[in-house]
């Protein structure tokens, strides 16, 4: 198991009801190296290291999948819409090109 990365799943707005369309924001702390930059301390090229696959799922059912490349900024941020259907859990699974696998989830508790 690789080191756990800091990541965050945010639902906007914070208060929502069943049937509302909310934004699901996902932020992760990741270097997203392109493979074309030098390490300033050692002078060696940094190997490419970026997130390549992301899956957003609700209670195990994927609703959005993404394939991304190194042109995404350091500490990437992704945002999609989602229609609340009831209680459950939104999980974001992500892998990078060096084989790291991580996931982060957020409970969905609609009010009213």
């Amino acid at each position: 198991m690789a080191e756990a990365r800091k990541s965050m799943v945010k639902i906007k707005p914070k208060k929502y009801k069943v049937g509302d369309v909310v934004k699901v924001d996902f932020i992760v702390i990741h270097p997203m190296d392109t493979g074309t930059t030098k390490n300033k301390k050692t002078g060696k090229m940094k190997p490419a290291h970026y997130i390549d696959n992301i899956t957003f799922s609700f209670d195990g059912k994927p609703f959005t999948t993404m394939k991304v490349w190194e042109s995404i900024s350091t500490n990437p941020y992704f945002s999609v819409n989602y229609k609340i259907t009831g209680k459950g859990k939104i999980t974001v699974d992500y892998t990078d090109n060096q084989g790291e696998k991580n996931s982060k989830s957020k409970k969905i508790k609609p009010k009213g």
Partner: protein, 160 residues
């Protein structure tokens, strides 16, 4: 005689060294340039072909692409895509592709959506190496493609 030969040999050796030097320097520079190439470089036309499988895409005003006109820092350029299209069971936005025209790898992100997203919306932040166009390419559920492009002025490039 011996002395003359010795001196001659020194001259030829130094001449070879002088001639040999620049080529060595050039080779090193070429190496540097080659290593600047990313692992999965792809031009915009190649990417467009790969995604649309040679069909091409129509320009459309249904896509609202929000990017800054001038980006001071090319390493963090916010990109927002809104598609004005219904998200019903058989009539929805299938995928949003974010592309650029000037980076080594012109593909930024492919987002496969489903009707439960309720809106054709995607936002992220990308790196841009120089002043260039950002393209949003949208695939609809009937298999057709629409696209829109906007140019971004980059003051400081963000790719190394």
């Amino acid at each position: 005689m011996e002395r003359r030969k010795f001196i001659q040999s020194i001259f030829t050796a130094s001449a070879v060294a002088v001639v040999g030097m620049p080529t060595g320097v050039f080779a090193e520079e070429a190496k540097k340039k080659a290593s600047k190439k990313g692992p999965n470089d792809m031009s915009f036309d190649e990417a467009l072909k790969a995604i649309t499988s040679d069909k091409g895409a129509k320009e459309s005003d249904k896509i609202k692409l929000t990017v800054p006109e001038i980006a001071e820092n090319g390493a963090v350029v916010p990109v927002k895509v809104n598609v004005d299209y219904p998200m019903e069971e058989n009539n929805y936005v299938k995928a949003i592709h974010v592309l650029n025209k000037g980076n080594g790898n012109s593909r930024c992100a492919d987002v496969i959506l489903s009707p439960s997203n309720a809106k054709g919306y995607f936002a992220t932040r990308v790196k841009l190496s120089k002043t260039q166009d950002v393209v949003a390419l949208v695939e609809l559920s009937d298999g057709s493609f629409i696209q829109t492009a906007k140019s971004v002025k980059v003051t400081i490039g963000g790719c190394g």
